[in-house]
Amino acid sequence: MMITPKTNAERIKRYLEEGKRFDGRKPEEYREVIIETGVSKNAEGSARVRIGKTEVLVGIKMDVMEPYPDSPNKGNLMVTAELLQLSSPRFEGGRPGFDSVEIGRVVDRGIRESKFIDFEKLCIKEGEKVWNVFIDIYSINDDGNLLDAAGIGAVAALRNAKIPKYDEEKGKRLFEESSEKSLPLAETNPLTITIYKIGDNILLDPTREEEDVSEAKLSIGISDGIISSMQKGMEKSVTIQEFEEMLKMAEDTWKNLNSKLDKSD
């Protein structure tokens, strides 16, 4: 869906040919990232992430459930993203569209595949009761790059989360009490960094307009040089050389964002 006018699209491309962007950033430059944690009283953990004018709210809820038959000693993860109508005139209500499914699934795999959460430690009683971790992502304002914002928010919220109290005798989750125990998380933060291609130029952290005119994108789930998930999107291909460049960009960006995350809690 192309809502950005054609004249703007052509101008964005022309600027990029000269290594320039409308807001004065360099192609590989991120907007300012602001991470706040503990922004919700009723969630087990939460974070608000702003990248320029883009904003997402991420909450963690946990509940006790029966484990899946193929992983009787492991907790579960469920990631859902909702693109709220309040966050953009272009979002429509009704059934979740592809964009929200994509955000949920890309963030899910970034966290799951990196083994960030030690699911075995979320087992209460093997084969009977395990913790289920829900990561719910809501867009508050969409000015591009919701995907990366959602990934940063998910990690910040997980780091912020405290496991609720569980009464083993009664087999009940005590909603009013927290165990004050943090989630079993790995030390390095997995992040999903998406790199976009417009014409023959590659760039990071697009604004809404830039994202509209992008022709290819590559989401890279990375944690300290180890890549654990990846997904290419959109209608144009990338050359092997561009692919290598994108990997390098993701590694550098991870370092910057990681230090921000470490300071956030």
């Binding site: 180890i226 290419k232 092997i240 692919f243 390098k248």
Partner: protein, 233 residues
């Protein structure tokens, strides 16, 4: 990477399972094809170009490629609930993206080309088999294309790279476990699709891309041969 690594089914590291490709299997369709990697069997049928419905989805500048990936309920051991899932929605979109760089729909304003992909039997690498079948079905339907696209999954089992993952390999748990990397390319090595689940560093990932390029060249020849066979009939 060790070249003497033993795969569960005895294949060499750069060997795919037996590939079968056949064009023209759904008489009603404008184009159709079957593609299989061993026990993974995909069929694809193309309908169109035809006027896009609903009307608000029409694009006045070019035709739309619309792919639908679906696994039939008994394609795997535990029954799959019929109907779209988050996973199938994602693979449908990924398939569109994998094929869009090679199809040329400029002359088909307000029209749609529908590609229906069904996995009849699954033993991993289903999206790759589906994309291969879809590319052939599009060519068979006479849709203008720059070229075919070919798709293969590269796996990293512990530290070893292998071509065309089976389900048994996908579930590898020893050492560093399994990393699954499906890659689609246009001939020459342009990447039109890549996904990854697992754990790998960027240096080895470049080896993965090189392996995929070789494997996809072989798959491309098989797809071409199947298309020529139908032309000779």
């Amino acid at each position: 990477m060790s070249k003497d690594f033993k795969r569960p089914d005895g294949r060499k590291f750069d060997e795919t399972r037996e590939i079968k490709a056949k064009v023209g299997i759904v008489p009603n369709a404008d184009g159709s094809a079957m593609f299989s990697f061993g026990n993974t069997v995909a069929v694809a049928a193309v309908y169109g170009p035809k006027v896009m419905h609903p009307q608000h989805s029409q694009n006045a500048e070019k035709g739309t490629l619309r792919c639908q990936y679906n696994m039939i309920s008994f394609s795997v051991k535990d029954r799959i609930r019929p109907g779209p899932s988050r996973r199938s929605m994602e693979i449908s979109k990924i398939t569109e993206w994998a094929l869009e760089p090679v199809v040329m729909l400029k002359g088909f304003a307000n029209q749609v080309v529908d590609v229906h992909i069904n996995i009849l039997q699954a033993d991993a690498s289903t999206r790759c088999a589906g994309i291969n079948a879809a590319a052939m079905a599009l060519a068979h339907a006479g849709i203008p294309m720059k070229n075919l696209a070919s798709s293969v999954s590269i796996g990293k089992l512990d530290k070893n790279l292998v071509v065309d993952l089976s389900k048994k390999e996908e579930d590898w748990e020893e050492g560093e476990g399994a990393t699954d990397i499906p890659i689609t390319m246009a001939p020459g090595g342009e990447i039109t699709h890549i996904q990854l689940d697992g754990k790998i560093d960027s240096k080895q990932l470049m080896d993965v891309v090189a392996l995929a390029k070789d494997a996809n060249e072989k798959i491309y020849e098989i797809q071409k041969k199947a298309l020529k066979e139908i032309g000779e009939k």
